[in-house]
């Protein structure tokens, strides 16, 4: 058989992962936010049928992975997927494809448009070389945090700040009953009393109030930095609150700048471990330069999860 000709440009950005079998690779596809048009899905099915061995794998970061692809078919696979604008994802020390839940578009719990944010970040930052290690971004529509945004290098969680129009309140008590954080109690006058220090910005009061007496005064993202999972998990901590949706990509870029600079010479180390080494104040100060209105006064280091190993 003649040596197959492969365009190595395709391989550079990653997304082609060697399997156990000889000449076989997994091709990880780029699916920001887990959203996939049906036409694209049909194209992927056709390609998988033609070049694969009868199945695909759904990755935990919302990607579709083509399995058992012979490397001789790389160019054909990339070209055929391109007919439906389907691109290949990345691996290695780069900004990965962002994940996101359904957000507010059709999910009643969502407070922000996570899908839009994921697409925007994918467009602007996907594949950016960090110089150090992988870099993951995730979006959750509300503090339920189904996508586990806090275990990403930068994690976004939809948030609202509630405000009461007491004239519209009919004293039904539903908001106080629904607030799981104990931030709302019904006062003497039958109107809710708000304890701001207990509020986690979930918006349940706004959603439950039958007369819309509770409204969202501010809307945006709670932003955590420094999370990761794996052998030595860290939960990211809060660096900004109510970050507007249109500042998301710039905020991530600012974190990346700090990471690139501070991790110089540190080798394959995630941003959370760099924060543990440098202290969180350094990153806070850096972010305050461009995001003063949203960056918090103080924060805590990434929270180390005890995995109990080695015993």
């Amino acid at each position: 058989m003649a040596e197959p000709k492969i365009d190595l440009k395709n391989l550079k950005a990653g997304g082609f992962i060697k399997e156990r079998g000889k000449d076989l690779f997994t091709i990880r596809l780029r699916v920001p936010g887990g959203r996939m048009s049906v036409d694209r899905l049909a194209k992927i099915t056709a390609v998988a049928q033609k070049y694969g061995k009868g199945f695909v794998h759904l990755s935990v970061r919302q990607s579709i992975e083509l399995i058992n692809i012979n490397f001789a078919h790389f160019d054909a696979v990339v070209a055929e997927l391109g007919e439906e604008q389907q691109k290949v994802a990345s691996c290695g020390a780069r900004v990965r494809v962002p994940t996101a839940c359904g957000g507010c578009e059709y999910n009643p719990n969502g407070l922000v448009d996570t899908q839009k944010s994921a697409l925007e970040v994918d467009e602007k930052l996907f594949g950016t070389v960090t110089g150090h290690h992988k870099f993951k971004v995730g979006f959750a529509g509300c503090p339920f945090d189904c996508p586990k945004s806090a275990t990403n290098d930068v994690g976004f969680q939809g948030a609202i700040w509630p405000t009461l129009d007491a004239d519209e309140c009919i004293s039904c008590g539903l908001c106080a009953k629904s607030c799981t954080e104990g931030a709302l109690t019904l006062g003497e006058d039958g109107k809710p009393v708000f304890d701001a220090a207990k509020c986690i910005y979930c918006g349940d009061c706004v959603k439950v109030c039958p007369t819309s007496a509770w409204k969202a005064e501010k809307r945006g993202y709670t932003v955590r930095v420094g999370g990761k999972w794996g052998r030595r998990p860290l939960v990211g901590t809060v660096y900004a609150t109510f970050l507007p949706e249109d500042r998301v990509a710039d905020f991530i870029a600012a974190v990346l700048d700090w990471y690139k600079d501070k991790a110089e010479g540190a080798g394959r180390v995630r941003v959370g471990d760099i924060i543990l080494r440098e202290g969180c104040q350094s990153l806070l100060d850096h972010l305050k330069q461009d995001f003063a209105d949203f960056v918090v006064e103080k924060t805590i280091p990434p929270q180390i999860i005890n995995t109990q190993l080695p015993l």
Partner: protein, 74 residues
């Protein structure tokens, strides 16, 4: 005033029943619905308001809620 007992009826059937009841009456007439605590009382009043009916009251009584609605324009 008519009282319609929707206790024991789960979402979204309770909303559909309330909607059908409201179709039977004149604009401006008030009607009471009895709703279970939990999802029903969280969903039904809001959904009826979104359909253009006027929410006159929502009060807890013995573990359930009484919702008073004035029928809006058809």
């Amino acid at each position: 005033m008519a009282t319609i007992d929707l206790r024991g009826v789960t979402c979204p059937t309770n909303f559909v029943k309330a909607k059908l009841e409201l179709e039977e009456i004149e604009t401006g007439t008030t009607v009471e619905f009895l709703l279970d605590d939990g999802e029903p009382v969280k969903n039904v009043p809001r959904s009826l308001k979104a359909e253009g009916h006027k929410l006159l009251g929502l009060k807890e009584t013995d573990g359930y809620y009484v919702l008073t609605i004035e029928k809006g324009e058809d």
